[in-house]
Amino acid sequence: MMMNGFPRGHCMSVHERWVAGRLRWSADALEQVARDVRCDILTLLANAGSGHTGGSLSGTDYLTAILFHEAAIDPGQPNWADRDFWHVSNAHVSPLIYSVMAERGYFPLRDLLGFRSFEGHLQGHPSAHDTIGLEVSAGSLGQGLSVAIGVALAAKMDGHPRRCYLCMGDGEQQEGSVWEAAMSAAHYKLDNLLAIIDVNRMQIDGPTDKILNIEPLADKYQAFGWHVINIDGHDMNTILAAFEEARSVKGKPTVILAQTIMGKGWSAIEDDYTWHGRPPTKEEADEALLGLDANYGGWWARLEANGMMP
């Protein structure tokens, strides 16, 4: 007899009860949220006048899926002891991180307008000191995977079912520390760890294969002892299926190579590395939002409708 997917008589921890009863968003619904997140990203960047557009738009779909569908988290109590761990190590995509967090309810949407400002609580690169819901501060590439390993090890020590979700950039793979971490995750057989790499094939100075080739990435992780899943990082059904597959893998960590497009969702800048760290102007944002069936004014109207005008 199974109840909520658990054998009868099994005493469910708070975490397991959460997992069993958690909101399972449909792919369709998640796509809608991802669209809203892209609107948030473009708006907050135009408002701030600086920040990273390209990677924020390429990582939107899987980060939305992690925070809305996959991870056991409670934005109402960000420090809930039984939470899953999620962290974005390519932390320059802070517009993405903050937008998904706001949509998920960690803080009001309105706060996105304080991005990169002295008054706001959303620094250009995430500060765990300033922003509630972040596990550690970040912005220096190649540090996050090690932190996730620490969390996964602690969960193993405690016999806790916590899962760890860790996002990285593909350019970030050039940091040696990533591979020290990759080796230790496999060594400790951390099947409670899932890494997702944003393979948008671009970084600041150009295409990754011109700057410092990271391929063959799948072979590298396989050789390091990981289970590798290669997916279209913009296809929500595929993303959700990959998460399920990762849950079923035992005895080794899993990495999802999310093949993505830098600037995804704003056709004018797609695959253009010069948009790694450039924000849209307000006019450009308006144009980009049109492509998402939205507009700059509409975003403000949404704030107003929710009684959240600053």
């Binding site: 701030a48 006048g49 600086s50 920040g51 932390a91 990169r116 400002s117 002295f118 706001g120 959303l122 620094q123 250009g124 690169h125 500060s127 000191h129 300033d130 501060s137 970040a138 912005g139 220096s140 590439l141 190649g142 350019g171 970030e172 050039q174 940091e175 040696g176 970084q203 600041i204 100075d205 700057i211 410092l212």
Partner: protein, 317 residues
Amino acid sequence: MSGRIFEQRTTREGWGRGLVDLGQKHDDVVVLVSDNTTSTQVHFFEEIFPDRFFQMGISEQNMAGVAAGLSRFGKVPFYVTYSAFGVGRALDQLRVTIGYTPCNVKVGGGHSGISVGPDGATHQMLEDIAIVRAIPNFTVLVPADFDQTRKAVVAAYSIDGPVYIRFGRENVPCVTGPNDPFEVGKAQMMADGNDCTCIAMGQMVSEALLAHDALAEEGIRLRVLNMHTVKPLDEEAIHKAARETGAIVTAEEHQLYGGLGSAVAQVVAANYPVPMDYVAIQDHFGASGQPDELLDAFGLRAVDIVMKVKSTLERKA
């Protein structure tokens, strides 16, 4: 506080132009960068000397080690990235391979200080001077403006050993001229005075000059020293300042602990103790904001120098 009008330029452009100056004269100069060619302004060098330019990708530790290797067989490598990562991530390589050997490697620390602005605390390197200054064999240069940075790069080539050059992202006031001499290890007297000395580095030199003007209106004569070489320190200029002005205030876009203020205080305490105070980041991390806003908020302005000069003068015997 205003008065003097300075032309504005970036120190990072001085770095980029200085490398081209060197490249034209010396075939052994090579440049390494880690995925930030334009923001560190080494695209100037890359365009003219593509065969002596190495794109290392996002791998600061590797870049530092490769630079060390290049230096073993006659090349004079200049590696550059944001100081947060070029010093932060590669510290062990800086200390053991480059510092201890020592290797003839020049390190460019770009995007330094709080004036990086909206990128926020992670990217605002405020500890680099404390770190690099503590490593034996390193020369540490913090030029004040565009022209001086250009000259510091050229001067670094003539030093046989590791050199760290700090510079920033934003426009800063040009306080020196293209024809002013630049001598490593010799403080530059920017304004004379006998009541107190402000020893400043980097863009704080311009704030010190504004403070000098404001204090002059109240009859207080502030000496301003541009301490562009933090190591080796110009101890003679510091002794003279202590003896002749009897009070010293340091000014730096850096943490209070371990930076210019600490360096000067060690010299003063050991030789001729006088009242001192420090304009610096007071032992906390930075924040996102516009560069000007941050310099105001973190107390790195002429007005902050003026206040500290006055309170220090009250303690003068």
